[in-house]
Amino acid sequence: MQNVRLLAEAFDPAAELATFTAAHPNAGGIVSFLGQVRAEGDVEALELRHYGPMTLPGMQALAAEAARRWALDGLLIVHRHGAMGPGDPIVLVAAASRHRRDAFAAADFAMDHLKSESWFWKREKTAAGWHWIEPRAEDHSDKARWG
């Protein structure tokens, strides 16, 4: 029911969502969120690093917690690591449920925790070279909403 993957290569969000939707014909609603690399300023590339022993297990625990909190038919989390360019998909979250509110809440919850709690470190490449991105205060206040 929970499909959680950490990928080194690019993925096709539309194809992922089509497969997920087809697998859950009994769901009354499917909510999805796609995060992509912003095309802005002088950023040439973005790299997400992970830590093998902890990143995917942490994402699986997050999916299990979402499934415990809301009545879901299915939950999909696909997350990239490695180097990406502007416009590349980074993360896709989709939640399927009988009624829409559970799906909205579960997808929102999963994204807030992926941003603030999952074991990823981000750096950007500009003409000046690579530099690490510090966490945003908003990411922590977003997570705090969930208690």
Binding site: G35, L48, Y51, P53, I90, L114, S116, F120, W121, W132
Partner: protein, 79 residues
């Protein structure tokens, strides 16, 4: 006989390497043998420690055994 230190995120740049094989033993003794500038960063208030993939709530008094992997995890910035 060796244990491994793993440096995540910007700590990799500070260390100049993603990981380092060290002699097993007390963490304090290991840190004392590192570049002091790196040791200070590794002991930063916001750096979490994980031993063999498990987050440590109280990193005090760690003694690394042969084959142990100790990761230093700075604040995350993902998604």
């Amino acid at each position: 006989m060796s244990a491994k230190l793993v440096f995540l995120g910007r700590l990799e740049d500070v260390a100049g390497t993603p990981d380092l094989d060290v002699e097993p033993g007390p963490l304090e003794a290991l840190l004392a043998r590192l570049d002091p500038a790196l040791a200070v960063e590794l002991l930063g208030e916001r750096v979490r420690l994980a031993l063999n993939g498990r987050l440590l709530n109280d990193p005090g008094g760690i003694v690394l055994a042969d084959g142990d992997e100790l990761a230093f995890l700075p604040p995350v910035s993902g998604g």
